[in-house]
C-alpha cells in the first residue's frame, strides 16, 4: 500500500493550503477584489462636457440666439451669467466666457488646451447658426479600439502579479516555516528524496495555476468583457512557464532563510521592484529609457508583456518566444541554485 512520495508530498501541500482559509483568500479572492475595484474606478466614461459661460444679463443683446445655438451643440455645458465678466474662467470652472455684443467676444486662456477647444467648438456652432455652410464634405468615424481600456491593460497585469505573489509566498514562506518548525529536519531523517520535496512545491504551484488563471480570465470576461485576442493555449503555456519561473525564485529566497521574518523581507525585496517596474498597474514605458533594459530583464515584465501581447494584440508564439525563453531560463537557474544552496535543517 505504498504510494508515490512525490504524489503524497504534493497532496499534502494542496491539503494544507486549502485548509488555510486566509491563504485561499489571498490567492483567489484578493486578485478578484482588486481587479473589481480597479476596474470600477477606471471604467470608461463618456467624455466630460466642456463648460462654457454666457453673459445673459438684460444688457446682452442677442444672448437668446447664442444660448439656443450652444444648447443645441453636443459636448457643451452652458452656464448663464448675469454680469459681463466672471471669476469662474480664471478658477477653471468654465473654459470659455461668451459675451454677445454687436460682435461676439470670447474670453479664454489660450494656454489651456481645453479653452482653445471650447473656443473652436463654440465659434463654429455660432457661425453655423448664423448661416455659414461647410463647403468640404466630411464624415466622423469614432474609433473604439479593442483593448484600449484600462481594465484590458490591468487584467493581464493582475494575472502576472498573482502568479508571482502566489509562488513567492506559497513556496518561500511555507518552506521557511517548515524549517523553523524542524519539520524539514524531520523529513531529512527519512529517505525522502530532496529533489522530490522541492518538486512537490513546483507541482503544487502548477496545480493552483490551473485554478487561478481561469478564475481571473472568467471574471475579467464576465465583469468587464475582457477577452483573449490570441490563442488561449499559448496564454496558458506562457503563464505556466511564468509560474514555474517564480516557483524557482520562491525556492531560492527560501533556500537559506532561518526564520519567517527574514524570508518575508526577502520576498518583499524581490517583489516590490516588479510591482512597480514590471507594468502591473501602469506601463513600463513611463520609466526613462536608461532603465528599460533592466526592466525588460525582470521576470514579471517578461510575463506581463507577453501575456498582454497575447490577450490584447493576439500575438503568436513567435512574438513571445523571447520572453518565454527568459522565463524558462530564470526558472531553471533559480531551481538549480536553490537545490545547491538549500539549508535542509
Amino acid at each position: 500500500m505504498r504510494t508515490d512520495p512525490l504524489w503524497q508530498l504534493t497532496l499534502a501541500r494542496l491539503r494544507m493550503f486549502f485548509r488555510e482559509p486566509s491563504a485561499v483568500f489571498w490567492t483567489f479572492g484578493f486578485p478578484l477584489a482588486l481587479s473589481l475595484a480597479l476596474g470600477v474606478a477606471f471604467r470608461n466614461k463618456p467624455p466630460d462636457p466642456i463648460a462654457v459661460g454666457v453673459w445673459a444679463g438684460p444688457d446682452a443683446s442677442g444672448a437668446g440666439r447664442v444660448l439656443d445655438a450652444l444648447r443645441a451643440t453636443q459636448g457643451l455645458e452652458v452656464r448663464e451669467y448675469q454680469g459681463p465678466s466672471t471669476r469662474d474662467l480664471s478658477t477653471g470652472k468654465i473654459a470659455l466666457f461668451v459675451r454677445p455684443r454687436e460682435r461676439i467676444e470670447y474670453d479664454f486662456d489660450p494656454t489651456r488646451p481645453e479653452s482653445r477647444l471650447a473656443r473652436e467648438v463654440v465659434d463654429s456652432a455660432l457661425q453655423r447658426a448664423s448661416g455659414r455652410a461647410d463647403v468640404l464634405p466630411t464624415v466622423d468615424l469614432p474609433v473604439a479600439a479593442k483593448g484600449s481600456r484600462y481594465i484590458d491593460f490591468l487584467i493581464p497585469g493582475l494575472i502576472g502579479m498573482n502568479i508571482m505573489s502566489g509562488s513567492m509566498w506559497g513556496i518561500g514562506y511555507v518552506v521557511v516555516e517548515m524549517r523553523t518548525r524542524k519539520l524539514l529536519k524531520r523529513l531529512m531523517a527519512t529517505p525522502m528524496s530532496r529533489a522530490q520535496f522541492l518538486w512537490s512545491f513546483v507541482l503544487m504551484r502548477a496545480a493552483f495555476f490551473f485554478l487561478e488563471l481561469p478564475l481571473l480570465l472568467l471574471f475579467g470576461w464576465l465583469a468587464f468583457g475582457v477577452g483573449v485576442a490570441g490563442s488561449l493555449v499559448l496564454l496558458v503555456a506562457l503563464s505556466l512557464v511564468g509560474a514555474l519561473a517564480f516557483a524557482g525564485l520562491g525556492l531560492l529566497v527560501a533556500a537559506r532563510a532561518q526564520n519567517t521574518q527574514t524570508v518575508s523581507g526577502l520576498i518583499n525585496l524581490v517583489m516590490l521592484p516588479m510591482f512597480i517596474g514590471s507594468g502591473v498597474f501602469f506601463s513600463t514605458a513611463r520609466f526613462p529609457n536608461l532603465f528599460q533594459p533592466f526592466l525588460r530583464a525582470l521576470p514579471l515584465t517578461a510575463l506581463n508583456d507577453s501575456v498582454r501581447a497575447v490577450m490584447i494584440e493576439g500575438a503568436g508564439p513567435r512574438a513571445v518566444a523571447g520572453q518565454a525563453g527568459l522565463l524558462a531560463a530564470i526558472g531553471a537557474v533559480s531551481f538549480a541554485l536553490a537545490l545547491r544552496l538549500f539549508r535542509w535543517r
Binding site: 508515490d4 503524497q8 518548525r181 524531520r186 531523517a189
Partner: protein, 235 residues
C-alpha cells in the same frame, strides 16, 4: 557481537562549545539502550550524529554495520527516528501524516496497523493541531514506526507528558522491543530508563560517566553523579 550502534571517540564541537567530548558507545541488537543525563549533557547532539543528521568533528560511527558517508540511502530505509521537537503539519489529519511518512519508505507497516499500535485509531481523521501533547508525541513515534524499522531512535519521548501518556508510550516502546528490535532513547527520567532500558549510559559534559543495567546503576547512581558533577541528577 552483533551491534546495532557502535561509536568510538565521538567528538562534536561547535564554535567554542564541545558538545560531545570523546564518547564511546555500543548498542546491541535487540537491546533498548538509554542515554541518561541532565539538559545540556550532549545527549541530543550524540543522537543526532548517530542519526546522520549532524556530522561529527571526529570519531567513528557505525549504525547497523553501515556508515553514513557511504550508505546513507540504505541506512535511512532501516531506521525510525523521533526528534526531540518536531512540529508536524497542523492542518493534516493523523492518517494523512502517517501516509506521507509511509510513502518515503520501500517497506513498512500499514498506516492503520501503526495507528492501532499507538492507540490513535479513533483520531485518524483529526487534524494534528487538535491533538493533545501526549497524542502528538505518539503520532511522532508512529511516524518513526511506520517504516517498521530495525532500530528506533527516541529523543526524550516523554518529556512534558502526563503520567498516563508516558505509560502509553512506554507500552509502545516495549511492544517494539519485544519483536527483537533495537532502541536508543534519551531521557532525564531514571524511572523511564528503569522501565524501558536493558542498559543505560549516564552522560555528562559530552562523556559517558557510568554504564550498566538500570539495577546496577540505581545502587550507585546518585553517589556517582553527585561525586562527578557536583550536581543533582533530578534537577
Amino acid at each position: 557481537m552483533d551491534l546495532a550502534i557502535r561509536c568510538g571517540g565521538l567528538v562534536k564541537k561547535y564554535d567554542r562549545v564541545t558538545a560531545v567530548d570523546g564518547l564511546d558507545l555500543s548498542v546491541r541488537r535487540g537491546e533498548c539502550f538509554g542515554l541518561l543525563g541532565p539538559n545540556g549533557a550532549g545527549k541530543t547532539t550524540t543522537v543526532e550524529v548517530l542519526e546522520g543528521l549532524l556530522l561529527p568533528t571526529s570519531g567513528e560511527v557505525e549504525v547497523l554495520g553501515m556508515r553514513w558517508d557511504k550508505d546513507e540511502r540504505a541506512l535511512r530505509q532501516r531506521l525510525g527516528i523521533s526528534l526531540q521537537e518536531t512540529h508536524l503539519p497542523d492542518k493534516l489529519t493523523v492518517a494523512e501524516v502517517l501516509a506521507l511518512f509511509r510513502s518515503f519508505y520501500d517497506t513498512g507497516r500499514p498506516v492503520d496497523e501503526v495507528l492501532e499500535l499507538v492507540s490513535l485509531s479513533d483520531k485518524r481523521r483529526t487534524w494534528t493541531e487538535k491533538l493533545s501533547g501526549g497524542q502528538k508525541q505518539r503520532l511522532a513515534v508512529a511516524c518513526a514506526l511506520v517504516s517498521d524499522p530495525e532500530l528506533l531512535f527516541l529523543d526524550e519521548p516523554t518529556t512534558g507528558l502526563d503520567p498516563q501518556s508516558r505509560r502509553q508510550l512506554w507500552d509502545v516502546v516495549l511492544g517494539f522491543k519485544s519483536r527483537g528490535r533495537s532502541v536508543l532513547l534519551t531521557t532525564h527520567y531514571m524511572d523511564e530508563a528503569e522501565r524501558l532500558c536493558d542498559r543505560v549510559a549516564v552522560v555528562d559534559r559530552g562523556k559517558v560517566i557510568a554504564l550498566g543495567t538500570p539495577a546496577e546503576l540505581i545502587a550507585s547512581l546518585e553517589d556517582v553523579f553527585v561525586n562527578l558533577t557536583g550536581r543533582q541528577l533530578r534537577e
